[in-house]
Amino acid sequence: MNAVSQAVAARPVADPLVAQETKSLLRFLTCGSVDDGKSTLIGRLLYDTKLVFEDQLAAVARDSRKFGTTGEEVDLALLLDGLEAEREQGITIDVAYRFFTTERRKFIVADTPGHEQYTRNMATGASTSDLAVILVDARVGLVTQTRRHAFLVSLLGIRHVVLAVNKIDLVDFSAEVFERIAGEFRAFTKDFGFESVEAVPVSARFGDNVCSRSTRTPWYDGPTLLEHLEAVEVRTHAAAAPFRMSVQWVNRPDLDFRGFSGTIASGRIRPGDAVVVAKSGTSARVARIVTWDGDLDEAEAGEAVTITLDREIDVSRGDVLADPRARPAVADRFAARLVWMAEEPLLPGRSYLIKCGTRTVAGSVMTIRAEIDVNSFVERPADTLALNAVARVEVALGEAIAFDPYAENRETGAFILIDRLTNATVAAGMIDHALRRATNVHAQALDVTREARAAQKGQRAKVVWFTGLSGSGKSTIANRVEAALHAQGRHTFLLDGDNIRHGLNKDLGFSDADRVENIRRVGEVARLMADAGLIVLVSFISPFRAERAMARETIGAGEFLEIFVDTPLEVCETRDVKGLYAKARAGAIPNFTGISSPYEPPEDPDLRLDTAATSLEAAAEAVVAAILGGGEDWSI
């Protein structure tokens, strides 16, 4: 238990009240696998900077006997693993945050595992880091994983990298091995946009060149890992960039005070400076910079403040206040790089929520330009993206937002994608640039409205969306409903799945991605017809909740009725009017809904038709009643 007695060899204690006055903060990321000795390296940093306490060490000593891989020695890696299940597997599978401090700096370490399937975790850890420590095993040198780590670090905009060549003791402290690995790394990352690359030969297990200089590498005259981490200047150029602040919260304690609270994303601001609301273009001057500690003469990137303006202009949460001389882009389409983080694949055209700064809007990935192989950096075409995929994409939003390219501003150029149904965070995005199409295509306001066109026909525009399995009776009921409405003098149109697939959508197949696009197009056509004042009946299997929700949103909740034709699979299969189920069962039709492709029934439809218990006539009547009898005035 030699290690234990070393651990408590206390460092000299400076006056802690003086020390905090000058100490800065560095957030960094460690990349590497258990095999590279990453956990051991972090354990070593915590241990040598005396951030490991006796009771924790005692727990580790206990655990070392149970789980350890170092025989009689205390396994420093065990200081780190958190969740029980992971520890039993012997690998870490999430991002863990560690802390240590020296007299010069406080460090926040994002500890992420290196395995390929955990690109997601690395992106998460890198997003808040200013520096990355990439580990390699001196015995093996650069491996595929090293390339991936360097690429992802660069993708997430980290500009400072340390290459820790670990286990240098196992190659006899060879200068030659170290120089070769360092040289190869510098060569292949030369186009990655790194401002500093520092290579350090270390032995995490024995502490060489981690916190103290090793006598066993006399040929190495660079800094120890800790010396470098303490000294490296990573202050991003954020304070020198143009002013940006996303308004987080409108501060209104009383009628006399109206302030805009937020964290300054970039630049600096003083009272008297002009600011513009990026999206509306209205401007004002800063009156005060208010904080609990008193008004400030100046504030800069990273500071949380409340700004008041010299005149009343329309500002709310989600708006970006910006330097009027250097404004952010305002657009509803942009090109971006995306890291897909969900088990469910990305489906182009599906509607997600996009959070950028403090604004959340609806949007979708319209096009996957290319998926990027994180190991070879080769680009290839893709229809969908799976967990941990990285791609270049085009994004379209429901409304324009203000943003900057991520390369210029990590705060205003980043976004996340949220699944509308599960609320899961499914992707991280980095904006490259606005798309020109977006900036030149403006919505044209029409004088004659949907309501006016419908009123001329003596009706209200509606979209009645029938969803259900193939053979459930959707089209039969929809036909009957249209006949009844027509007989009453209503102006209607029926969009039928099979018919549309012969024309408008004949280029689409039955993959999940194509099904999403199928419904998106039909939703848009239904909207145009509703805008023309019609009662539109849509009869489509439309298996996914997300696309039906999108259609409801496209059309407007007040004019949308979801009818669930609820016929059990067994009944549909027994009927098998078109003989499709038999073929599907025989394997002749891939991706058949209910058999080899999922159907997500509505959770809260406007009307559910139980066709087993309801006659065709009764079902049609119920739908007609739902369309006409919504408590609305049909006499106009």
Binding site: K23, L25, R98, W249, N251, E411, A414, A428
Partner: protein, 302 residues
Amino acid sequence: MPVARHTHLKALEAESIRILREVAAEFRNPVMLYSVGKDSAVMLHLAMKAFHPSKPPFPLLHVDTGWKFREMIAFRDATARRLGLELLVHVNEDGVKAGISPFTHGSATHTHVMKTEGLKQALTKYGFDAAFGGARRDEEKSRAKERIFSFRTASHGWDPKTQRPELWNLWNARVAPGESIRAFPLSNWTELDIWQYIAAEEIPIVPLYFAAERPVVERGGMLIMADDDRLELRPDERIETRLVRFRTLGCWPLTGAIESEATTLPDILREMLIARTSERQGRLIDHDDSGSMEKKKREGYF
């Protein structure tokens, strides 16, 4: 003297303020869990800063187990009065009726019923959809991976698999009806940061953190303070007066004092920097085995 610009404490402060504002802006009905300790004191101070000149737009909630130090209760009430904030106090009445006590039922049952269940009752009763807590990632191994916005199911359960990745400062605040989050503004603070900040910002804290002559009994290797007459002495035990203080505060029968001469904040800081045990060492509930905190969390412990 307030914290200087461009320092690590100012950076931590700014991050915490951002979290506090984001929750206030995104959630319908947030609440701040106020446990009266030093971390709660810092969190509350940060909330006063975040919304200034407004008051924090949420109430404070204290889940009172009935076994808190008397000085904590007095300090709690005085703090709410001083800052003019709404304070909700919840006691698990079922637990009181059942006569749950840390002495007769043990630390695990007492904590589960009076703290964990009490907390769930209060969150359900008021329909809070976000609750701020003062937990820090450096406190315990299983907390190192905790999110800043920690997602909870409708039954207040925590499942490591449903936690969302957190990128940049873009926290995902979407929850379905009945679901909620716990938000941890102090995630990236360490115990040392907390003390340095308290000293720099002159934040009032419960006097129990400072060394004083107190009546204690030695039990199971810990010094337990006799805070009221509910402490029943075992045959070989006796109450003695010793110069002690507390590094963390909770239920007095479960919180160990340490012998210390630190009567000022600089004393405490100096003591910390040469400390050889972590602060949770004084808590009985963490001792069972090293995975026990994770089990408690799954059950809804903070």
